[in-house]
Amino acid sequence: MFKALLVDDEDAILKLLSAVLGMHGFAIDTASSAQEAISKLTSSEFDVVLTDLRMESPLARFDVVRAANRLTPRPTIVILTAFPVPASEWKVAGVDALYLKGTNSVSLPEELKSLLAQRRPEPPVRSAAGARGRK
């Protein structure tokens, strides 16, 4: 199970996206501001951080991203925004992916999972025959 921190200043999005990602096996924690997200990031460990860019202040755009980038191990960082920024800007900021609100939300959980699998490959599963052979 992947642990995700969801950061958005809109309660409806927080509640609904938590529920949808929860249905797909994510353990969700939420924050409704950049400040709250930064304090949660310092107190808990997350596999993925999904954050909006426009929250309490226009200057708080990449605050959560910067805070997440400083962590070890660094979580996967995904921007979830309705106000797209140029790829050069978010890639330089250390973001792994940008997801545009209002596009295909159905594929979001699976895209997140594949992104997490790319960053943190699971250990290879031994085949039953191989396991028996060792014994």
Partner: protein
């Protein structure tokens, strides 16, 4: 390439305006001033300066027009971007709410609606930036509304 030819066109228009001013003023002077070599030389220099001034003024006017055009484009882009932001923020919870129900038909319908909204937003962005569409004076739009 288009921008370069546009710039050359503007310079050509300015030079044409300058030549027009120079030729007209020279013609008027030749017709009205007695043919004295010294006076004519002074007048010719004056006409040449008038032509140069006309070129500079013409280029200045065109530059100002361009500046206003870009300023309007930036304002329109900002309005469209803000509109885009609000619509996407409003649509996203709706999609999530439908996704939460798990009903495949509803999700398909929602996705089609979102795709249509996205196409409309892209078209509106292009129209707004190009400034070709005047929604307020579009008579067809009024007819449809009626």
């Amino acid at each position: 390439m288009a921008q370069g030819s546009s710039r050359l066109g503007k310079i050509a228009v300015a030079i044409f305006c300058g030549l027009l001013v120079g030729v007209v003023s020279a013609g008027v002077h030749i017709a009205t001033i007695p043919l004295d070599r010294t006076i004519m030389l002074h007048v010719a220099v004056g006409d040449f300066i008038a032509a140069l001034t006309a070129i500079i003024v013409c280029l200045g006017i065109q530059l100002r027009q361009e500046e206003i055009h870009y300023q309007n484009s930036i304002e329109r882009a900002a309005i469209v971007a803000e509109l885009n932001h609000h619509i996407r923020n409003a649509v996203f919870p709706l999609c999530l709410a439908i996704q939460k129900t798990g009903d495949a038909d509803s999700m398909k319908t929602a996705q089609e609606a979102v795709d249509r909204i996205n196409i409309a937003l892209k078209d509106a962005t292009v129209d707004a930036l190009s400034g070709r569409t005047q929604y307020s004076t579009d008579r067809n739009a009024v007819k449809v509304a009626e």
